[in-house]
Each structure stands twice: as structure tokens, then as C-alpha cells.
Symmetry: C2
Subunit: 443 residues, 2 copies
């Protein structure tokens, strides 16, 4: 009989780790404990479920517990919540909600993939039923039902980040009057103000009401209370960020760091022998700042989970870190970013210069060419590309990937200008907009 | 009075160089001699002009001679053909076709951007009027007129490379019966056979007739003669490659290399003092094989021209080389490639392994997700990505750019798997297909 791996959390990080461990360690017993009702679903797909672009929540499930059992011999148990981790006796205390019982389960190795949760500030009325977070498939089903009910004429989205914009789009598709309330001077805090303003122009173009510099002070039935005034609301969506579910790990004595996320080394090992963490519950390393950071993204959860699983299975892998790449869209407007914004570059101590260019996604004469604005943040003297931001229309945002590769490879703007990017009139101008930005940065 | 720069050829390479030189050297006298009727037009746009997607040839002109005069003080002379270069007396012999006169023009620095020309094999009947190359705007106008005449019911495209496929699409759009004749076993010789077969499936799907392993032996009015048999043809398009216009340079004693293209150093300097070359007339350096190569692409011409111009203007720039990136589409099918194919990797002496994966361009549940097949060629032992090939539909091909960056940065498949690529359901699956290919390559 091999060792037993216990996985806490049946989503991207946990199940990626479990699958990788199985692949390398045939004799490993794997038990995955998920407190919710689903495994491995696409939380990022929820806005599109709510917007009616995806046919039902089942489409968002990548793999069911049965598939994990059949294909990977992973014993997935739903509605099983881990209440405590005992690192001395190497067991977890498990609450089986379905059968209303509690039991202890020993482990040789432990994989913590407890994820994150939408931040719910302790405001008066925050627990009213019409105030929704966006996290589980259950949240998605509730929001979809609300949209379909025809009762959501006034929707208030609190927070103008990725989830906020995506949920705004979802309800615009249903014909609702949507207002985004953002505490900061601009939406999309991961962009610099000049690029965020382009997103704000789009927000207005799609007839979404936007209140920046505006603090929400509480909720009453049918109303969102602001510093000065209030808004009618049939439904409120919270999009003010995610915090790590790290309390269980912290209570067990594991070290936590940035934003209280679980600290891990390059092999995704937490601070106790045989204990791993990955995904939204743990820290990442930022390749440009060289400092720990916190990102709650499915891609990172999958990659970290893979690395953890390889190591759990007896292999060797490291997760080098992130450069902060993200992409989203609001109706026809696409947004991408990678590396450091001006604010982040300044905070990390870099001297830098910024360049912004306006271009086209295809040859200027080709049908369907769309506007694209590219911003580069480039280190002074070295010319190293520290970060990039893109706002544009169809075909614009995915170009952030080549900038992410350039930032990762520590390319200079000069090297990037000479990068052998692809060109044909249906795909880009002869100088791709990202290369034009680099060329401009050199001048 | 400053020096005089003479530029031979008024297209991408020559005019990029001229513009850059002007920017840095205010006092430089710049004379650009173009034997044809246009400057700086998009030859890559000609298939779309012929296909009716672009409104007239003027749309393909990026900048007119008057614009170069007004904005950059470059004395552009059309219908001026350089007949000889005398490196000893440092002058060129110029034939002014418009005024039917010949004169000599001295230079301090010389920029050779004579471009390339479609290969016309010496077959019987090759000079018949219905056999067209695709190079100048004049070619494009003639082909468009032929298409519009309604007389092109049977079109034969000789050669199944990029231009061949694009011209086939153009005439398919006009409702012609199109046959592609390819001498090799497969179309798209820059792809490996397995990926080329996917393109061939698409060719058949678009009702284009394809004859591979078939040699054209000559042309007769209304017919293309094959090794065995013949094809009816109202119009023939040659798409069998480009050769450098390097005769002038060679006759002047400048060194030539691969495919008789003009040899240049990293600053785009030819083998004589003060003489530069860039674009389709000169060699490139291949960053993966480490050997000289020949590519005839607008992007490379622009980049090399820029580098030449910076150096001519007294600055310092080098062109590091190419990785062989290219992209095209045939109707809804997109094709991209970068780095080395299996054949190229073997020829360069690499031991390698290949991986092919089938994926989707967006999240599997997102509307409009399209198929994409990614192939990676990875060096054995080191895991270094030597090349990539993509065949798919909307959104597939431009992903080649991130592989081009990875090949340039000498990333391994393991590094690529952990690259912080962007993800949101409208843009990609949580593991982008290119990352899935890298993950598969590691196994």
C-alpha cells in the first residue's frame, strides 16, 4: 500500500495536483475533499453563464467527481469540509455535511487548494439576499435565475475590476440598467489611469453608468447606500476582489505572507514537511519585482497545482512565478495587461519611461481592422520591457501574451522591435502594434 | 552640405532605411530611385485586392513619393532604374524611363533595397499573357481586371505556398474553379507533412482542386501542361517562390550568399564600405540554426531597413536575425509557423521530438470556440523549443507570435508551460493550446 495524499479543495489547484500526482505515483491513495457541490468548474465562465452565452452551469464543469474516480482513481468526496489540520498527528478533521458526521482522516502528504472567496466588506446590509458574490456555480445559478426572472431592471456592480466589468456586461445583455460603483478614481486598478480612461470611455459607450471616487456605505432592501446619495438596485454584484481561504492553514501553524496567503517555495511546498499549497489560497512570486505577490487566477492555480502534483508524485518541478498577465473584455472592448504598471514599477523602485501608441489590429486596408492602444513601461537606461497594457477591440487583447513572454525573457524594447512576429494583412499591420509601441519606446 | 545617400528601390526596405536615416541625419541628401510606379505599397495585400476585399490598389499604398518628399525630404524618383553600381567611382548609372535618358549619380552611402521577384521557371509558354506573377501593384491590377472580366472560370495556381493559397482564395471568392498544382508531395513546404495535410483537408473543403506530386511542364494558350495530362486555364498564377534581385549588386562585386542574396553583417552592411542592403534582396541570419538564410517577407524588410537606416544616419543598431515566422490564411483556415520544422531541425543537426495537440481557441463552452492544432518541435534532452506550427480557425494563427518569442528567447517547454499567458473564456481555454502543446511535449 502506498502513501495517502489528502487534497483539500476540489477545484483547479487541488485537482490539477491530484491528477499529476496520480500520473507519477501509481500506488498513491488520493482522497480529495470538496466542501461544495462541484469539482473543477470554470469560475471564470460564470459571467458568461449569467449573461446567457453559456447553456447552463453543467457546461462549466470540466470534470465530474465520477470522471476523476474512473479516469484517475481519485476518491473525490463532495460536501466534505475540512475543519482542522493537525500537522503533528498528520490528520485532518472532516465534516461530511451530506451525512451530518465528522471524522478524522490521516495523510502522508497534504495538498491545500482551498481557493479564495470574494471580499465582503462588513457594511450594513451586506448579508441581504440581493447582494451577491461571484464564486461558485451556485452563485452563477442564482444570478442567472435573477436575470431570467425579469425582475433585475436596476443592477449595481460594486467594483470596476475584471469581475465587475464582466458582470456588468452580463446584465447589459439582459437589458438591465447597470451602474458600476468604484471607490478609486478609475476602474481597472491594474491599469494605469490613462489606459483605464479608455475603458471608461467604453463603459459609457455601452450605456453603463459609472460612478468613480464613490464609496458604498451599506445596503437596504432595494437600495445601495453611497457616501452621498443612494442607488435603486434590484440586485447587487460584489466585484471588489478575492481573499485567500488560508485560515485553516494558518490555524494549523503554516506560514502565511502577502494578503495572508499561504507561503510556498518554488516547488509549492508550504512550511511543513509533505504539505503543499497552490492556487488562490497561496502566494505567488512576481518575476519582475522579485517579491511575493497574490494573484487569484485560474491559470496560475492550474500551473501551480501541476507543479505541486509533480512534486507530490515524486517528480521535480518548480513554479518560476508570474508576471501579472490578465485579460478581459467588456462587450466589444478588450483589455489585456502584463508585467508592471507605472504605479507598480515605481513601487518596485524602477526608473522607467512609458510609451502609448494607437494602432490597428489588421492592415489598415483590411476589412474588420479594429483600433488598439498599446502602452509599454520600459526601464530607463536598460530599455528592458517591464510591462504592457492593451485596450482595443477584436483581436487586440490576446497580443498581451507576446509581451508576457518578452517580460518573462527580460527582453529590451530594441530586442522586441526585431522580434520575428508574424504578419499577413488579415492578422496585423506589417509592424504589429506591440512592435510599434516598442519602436516608439526606443526613440 | 551633407553626404548624399542613394537608395535603390522605393519599397519597404529602401524607404524604411531612408526614413530612419533622415530622422538621425538632418543634413543628409537622400535620393531614392524606384524603377516601378509606386513606393511603399503592401505587396502582401495584393491577394486581397484581387479577391475584392480591398477597395482598389491605392488603398495598398502606405506612403506616396509626395509624402516622402513633404514629410521626410526624400527625393523619390519613380521609373528610375539603376543599371549599374560603380563602387570605385561611387556612382550609379540611372535609366530615367519616363524621360528616356541615362545619367550618373554619385553617392557617399548606398542603400540597396532592390527586393525580389517571383520565380519564373524557363518553361515553354511561361511568357504567355495569361501566366501571371504576383509582385507589383500592376500585377494586382491586371489580376483584378481579369477576375472582374468574368472570363476567369478556370484558374490554375502553380505552387501551394503562402502566395499560392492566398491567390487561390482570391479566385474562389470570384466563384472560379481553382486548381492548385504542387510539385512536392504536400503544399506549404515550410510545414511538416502532418500539418500540411490539415491544410490540404481545408483546401478540399473549400472546393479547391489540388494536384500534389505534379510537375508543370509548360503552358499553351488556355492550357497548363502537366507531366501527364493538362488543365484548362483562363488564367495562371505563379506562386513558386521569390528570388532576390541581387544581380546589380553582384555585378558591382558585392558578396552574395544563400540563394545568391546579398551578404550583410549584423548592421546590414554589404561587403563594401558605406553600402547597405536590406529586404528581399539580401540574406538573413537564422537565430535557431545559426546559419544564413533567405526570407522574402515585408516584416523582415521593414526591420532590416530600419536597422540599415539607423546605421546610415550615424546611429548604431543591429538586426539579430529571424526565426522564420510566417502566417497566412485560406478562407477560414489559419496557418502559422515559427522556428524549425522537423525537416529543418534535422538538417541543422538537432535531435528532437515532436508533439501535436488538438485544442480550442476559446473555453470549450464559449460561443465561437474554434479548432486549433499545435505542433511543437522540441530539442531532445534540453527541452528547448525549436519550432512551432499551428493550423486552425479564427484566432488560431496569431498565437504563433508567443512561440516566436519563446524560440527567440531559447525557452524550454517547461519554461513555456509556466509562462504567464492570459486567460479569459472568450480568449482561450484555461490552458492555452500552445501551453497544452508544451505540457504534452514534457511528458
Amino acid at each position: 500500500m502506498g502513501q495517502r495524499l489528502v487534497v483539500i479543495g476540489g477545484d483547479a489547484a487541488g485537482m490539477s495536483a491530484a491528477s499529476q500526482a496520480r500520473r507519477r505515483y501509481d500506488d498513491l491513495e488520493i482522497v480529495a475533499l470538496e466542501k461544495g457541490h462541484w469539482t473543477s468548474y470554470s469560475a471564470c465562465g460564470i459571467p458568461y453563464l449569467v449573461g446567457g452565452e453559456v447553456d447552463g452551469p453543467d457546461r462549466l464543469i470540466a470534470r465530474t467527481p465520477q470522471q476523476f474516480r474512473d479516469k484517475h482513481r481519485i476518491d473525490v468526496r463532495l460536501e466534505h469540509e475540512v475543519m482542522a489540520i493537525d500537522l503533528d498527528s498528520r490528520q485532518v478533521e472532516v465534516r461530511d455535511h451530506g451525512h451530518d458526521r465528522t471524522f478524522n482522516l490521516g495523510f502522508d502528504q497534504l495538498m491545500i487548494g482551498t481557493g479564495g472567496r470574494p471580499i465582503r466588506p462588513p457594511l450594513p446590509g451586506i448579508d441581504l439576499g440581493f447582494v451577491h458574490g461571484v464564486q461558485t456555480l451556485g452563485d452563477g445559478e442564482q444570478l442567472l435565475a435573477a436575470a431570467e426572472s425579469g425582475q433585475c431592471n436596476h443592477v449595481v456592480v460594486v467594483g470596476g475590476g475584471y469581475i465587475g466589468l464582466e458582470m456588468a456586461e452580463a446584465f447589459v445583455r439582459w437589458g438591465a440598467d447597470v451602474t458600476i460603483v468604484e471607490q478609486a478614481p478609475h476602474v481597472m486598478s491594474t491599469l494605469d489611469a490613462d489606459m483605464a480612461e479608455l475603458v471608461e470611455v467604453a463603459i459609457h459607450r455601452y450605456d453603463i453608468d459609472l460612478k468613480t471616487n464613490t464609496m458604498v456605505t451599506g445596503f437596504e432592501p432595494g437600495r445601495v447606500l453611497l457616501e452621498n446619495g443612494s442607488l435603486d438596485a434590484d440586485l447587487v454584484v460584489l466585484g471588489i476582489g478575492v481573499q485567500p481561504n488560508s485560515e485553516l492553514a494558518a490555524a494549523a501553524g503554516l506560514t502565511t505572507g502577502v494578503r495572508d496567503a499561504i507561503s510556498v517555495d518554488r516547488r509549492q511546498r508550504a512550511s511543513a514537511e509533505g504539505v503543499y499549497a497552490a492556487g488562490d489560497c497561496c502566494e505567488s512570486f512576481h518575476l519582475v519585482t522579485g517579491a511575493p505577490t497574490y494573484v487569484a487566477l485560474g491559470t496560475v492555480a492550474n500551473r501551480q497545482g501541476r507543479v505541486a502534483g509533480i512534486n507530490i508524485g515524486g517528480g521535480y518541478a518548480t513554479f518560476p512565478g508570474v508576471v501579472g498577465t490578465a485579460v478581459t473584455k467588456l462587450c466589444a472592448t478588450e483589455v489585456g495587461r502584463t508585467g508592471l504598471s507605472e504605479r507598480e514599477a515605481a513601487a518596485a523602485g524602477f526608473a522607467f519611461e512609458s510609451t502609448v501608441i494607437e494602432g490597428k489590429t489588421r492592415a489598415h486596408y483590411f476589412p474588420g481592422t479594429k483600433p488598439i492602444v498599446v502602452k509599454l513601461v520600459v526601464e530607463t537606461r536598460t530599455g528592458r520591457i517591464l510591462g504592457g497594457q492593451i485596450v482595443g477591440e477584436e483581436g487586440a487583447a490576446k497580443r498581451i501574451d507576446v509581451l508576457a513572454a518578452a517580460v518573462t525573457a527580460r527582453m529590451t524594447a530594441e530586442e522586441f522591435v526585431n522580434l520575428d512576429l508574424s504578419y499577413a494583412p488579415p492578422f496585423s499591420p506589417v509592424w504589429d502594434p506591440v512592435a510599434i509601441a516598442a519602436r516608439q519606446a526606443i526613440r
